[in-house]
Symmetry: C2
Subunit: 136 residues, 2 copies
C-alpha cells in the first residue's frame, strides 16, 4: 500500500515526504471530491497552509485535479492513472444538492462544443447539479 503511494508520487516526480504520503493516502480513500477544509479535518494535526501547498503541488504535477463546483470551496480528486488533464480527457462533475457531495463522473466525458470561429479551447469545467442516486 505504502509502496503504491510512493509509486504514484514518484511517477509524477513528486518527492514523497511524510505529509504528501499521508495526503495522497487520504485522497485515495475518498469516494467524492473533497475540499481543503474537509481534508484538514481528517487529520489530527494539520496545517492549512501545508495542505494548501501540497494540493497545489499535486495539481501542478497532475496527480489530482480541482473542481470548482460553485459552492465556494474548491474540491480536489485524484486523477486517473496517466491522466494529462487535457480537454479531451476531462469528465463531468456532479454536485448533489442533497448530500452536498461532489462526484467525478469519470465515465462521462465532457461533450465537445463547437465554439464560434477563432475561439480556441484550453479547458472546460462542467458541473451538473441535482440529486444523486443515493439521495433519491
Amino acid at each position: 500500500m505504502n509502496e503504491n503511494i510512493n509509486n504514484k508520487l514518484n511517477a509524477k516526480s513528486i518527492k514523497p515526504t511524510a505529509m504528501r504520503q499521508l495526503v495522497l493516502h487520504v485522497l485515495a480513500e475518498q469516494k467524492s471530491a473533497v475540499s481543503m477544509q474537509e481534508l484538514e479535518q481528517k487529520f489530527e494535526k494539520a496545517d492549512k497552509v501545508t495542505l494548501y501547498r501540497t494540493l497545489k503541488t499535486f495539481e501542478e504535477k497532475k496527480l489530482i485535479h480541482s473542481i470548482d463546483d460553485g459552492t465556494g470551496s474548491i474540491k480536489y480528486a485524484l486523477c486517473r492513472e496517466s491522466c494529462q488533464c487535457r480537454p479531451e480527457e476531462l469528465h463531468v462533475h456532479f454536485y448533489c444538492t442533497e448530500c452536498k457531495q461532489t462526484y467525478c463522473l469519470n465515465d462521462i466525458p465532457i461533450p465537445s462544443v463547437n465554439l464560434p470561429v477563432h475561439f480556441t479551447l484550453e479547458n472546460i469545467n462542467m458541473v451538473v447539479k441535482g440529486i444523486c442516486a443515493n439521495c433519491i
Copy 2:
C-alpha cells in the same frame, strides 16, 4: 429607454426603484458578464451591499443569471427575454484567459448529458476557457 427598463422590471415583478433601474441599465450595456466589483466601479457612488442585494433580487426573479467562471468572482449577465433558467435553456459560457472577459455564448446550448441511473438534473454550469476571437 427608461420605458423599456421599467417594462423589464415589471415583467419580472421587481419594484422599479432608482437603484434597480440604474443597475439594469448598466447591465444592459455590457457585452460580457460583469462582476459585482466591476459594476461597483461603473457608478459614482454605489454601495456594495445594495448592489449585492440588487443582483440577488434580479437573479431570484430570473432577470439575470450568474456565472461562476472560476476566477473567484461571480459574473452576472442579463437573461434573454422570457428565460426561465431551466436546464434546457442554459447556454455555454466562455472565459478568455487573455482579456479576462466572460462571455455568454447565447447560441450554444449546453449539450445534454446522460447521467447515471437515478441521478436527477437541476442545473448545469459549463465554462469553456480559452482565447476569444478578439484576442487571437
